[in-house]
């Protein structure tokens, strides 16, 4: 266990292993995505209440689920970076932020597009929606903070602090917004519960959720490889890698 942990901190090892993981994971991911989307778009029956617009669920829910999970990945990397001072954790944190932000954006966007035909409006101030918006701000904050620092090593630590503080906040935001909304006016629109989903609709959804997780991993690893190269640009192993 500890030796694995130790290896994780080693840039050349991480660079090599990520390369071999990506070689099989990336094609699988793309395949899963293509398969799942085609299945969802063309081979399922429409929802009896929402008609064909419900097909957006196959993007919306995986994106939302992985975007939320991504924040915890990022915050964990932040904690590791602060506690064990592991430099590769900074790289992971920095690599996770844009992926999480993009997935959050996709969840928001598909949600808004879905809202128009089903609710008749692009936007409502619902608990889940508002907290998703705030999640986007949190991701953007981490990215902007990293970019604003000149000293990238310090930047990693600053982002670690910020993402840890954000972890505390996410449940608070969710609860508070939930309560706020129900206080001011009763929720007139409810999400359809997952239990109401027919199994034939559920399988492609599950496939896509898994594919989105895999996609997140792929992007994370690819971003990390860039980060490792930038950080280790002057070392011997990179020099050898470039062919000098």
């Amino acid at each position: 266990m500890w030796s694995f942990f130790h290896k994780l901190g080693s840039p050349p090892w991480l660079y090599r292993i990520s390369g071999s993981i990506l070689r099989w994971l990336l094609p699988l991911t793309l395949l899963g995505l293509a398969l799942g989307m085609t299945w969802g778009l063309f081979f399922t029956a429409p929802d009896f209440r929402q008609g064909n617009s419900y097909r957006i669920i196959y993007i919306h829910v995986p994106a939302a689920v992985v975007a939320l999970a991504g924040y915890y990945v990022m915050a964990t990397a932040g904690a590791v970076s602060l506690i064990w001072k592991m430099k590769m954790a900074d790289v992971a944190l920095r690599a996770a932020a844009p992926v999480g932000a993009a997935l959050t954006f996709v969840a928001l966007l598909t949600g808004a597009i879905w809202g128009k035909p089903t609710w008749g409006t692009w936007w409502v101030w619902d608990a889940r929606i508002t907290s998703m918006l705030i999640l986007l701000f949190l991701y953007l904050g981490v990215i902007a903070l990293y970019e604003a620092y000149d000293n990238k090593e310090a930047a990693g630590k600053a982002c670690a602090v910020l993402s840890l503080v954000g972890t505390v906040n996410i449940p608070i935001i969710y609860k508070s917004v939930d309560w706020w909304y129900s206080l001011h006016q009763p929720a007139s629109i409810k999400f359809t519960g997952p239990s109401s989903i027919d199994p034939s609709m559920l399988y492609p959804l599950l496939l896509l959720i898994i594919s989105f997780y895999a996609l997140f991993t792929c992007c994370l690893l690819m971003n990390m490889r860039v980060g490792i190269l930038q950080r280790e640009a002057r070392t011997k192993w990179v020099r050898k890698l470039v062919g000098l």
Binding site: N151, K152, E153, A154, K157
Partner: protein, 196 residues
């Protein structure tokens, strides 16, 4: 008092120093020299423990220190007296008498209660230098302490530094001026390594 091992620093794509190792002990007066941009300030900030990222190497420090940087840490809205009495370095609590004596030593007698923004450039820096007369820290790290100080002021300050090291303390300072002191002066030149 202070040991440095294998310190390497790169800033803005330039290697400032590589594998720098030295140690300073009690009674040593060390002048860090180097052209503008050689990395003197960067080095002092690392030694003080202010910079903690972006360099490699070991720094070990075994004594409380006093650091004076390029910025004077003098609040323009406070008077010299208040600046010393409420100083944020937390080193000690000085009595009002000590403060007055220290201000008088740096030539600010009569200016104790003038707001610091109404002081001349040199007087402003002198408020900060007054801390040296109050400090008991065994290790002083001074970044260009002679800036904007007039000739007599420089002489006073030189003798203060000598007095401090003669008591078995250590002073490490940067300056572009040549000191004229009656004391063995080591020097660390940032483009050539340590000269005894």
């Amino acid at each position: 008092m202070l040991e440095v091992e294998g310190l390497t620093l790169e800033r803005g794509g330039r290697l400032l120093f590589e594998n720098l190792s030295f140690a300073v002990g009690p009674g040593q007066l060390l002048q860090v020299e180097g052209a503008n941009g050689a990395g003197k300030t960067s080095l002092l900030r690392i030694l003080a423990g202010l910079s903690r990222y972006g360099y490699s190497g070991q720094v070990s420090r075994h004594a409380p220190l006093l650091y004076l940087g390029h910025h004077s840490a003098v609040k323009a809205l406070l008077t010299p007296r208040e600046n010393l009495a409420w100083h944020v370095s937390g080193e000690a609590t000085y009595s009002d008498n000590d403060i007055e004596a220290a201000l008088a030593r740096v030539g600010l007698y009569g200016y104790e209660d003038v707001p610091s923004h109404a002081l001349s450039a040199g007087q402003h820096r002198r408020v900060n230098l007054a801390r040296l007369y109050l400090s008991a820290a065994p290790l002083w790290l001074l970044d260009e302490p002679f800036t904007a100080i007039d000739r007599e002021g420089v002489i006073d300050l030189e003798s203060l530094l000598v007095q401090h090291v003669e008591r078995g303390n250590t002073v490490l300072f940067t300056s572009h001026q040549k000191l004229s002191v009656n004391y063995p002066l080591s020097s660390l030149s940032l483009s050539e390594g340590l000269r005894p």
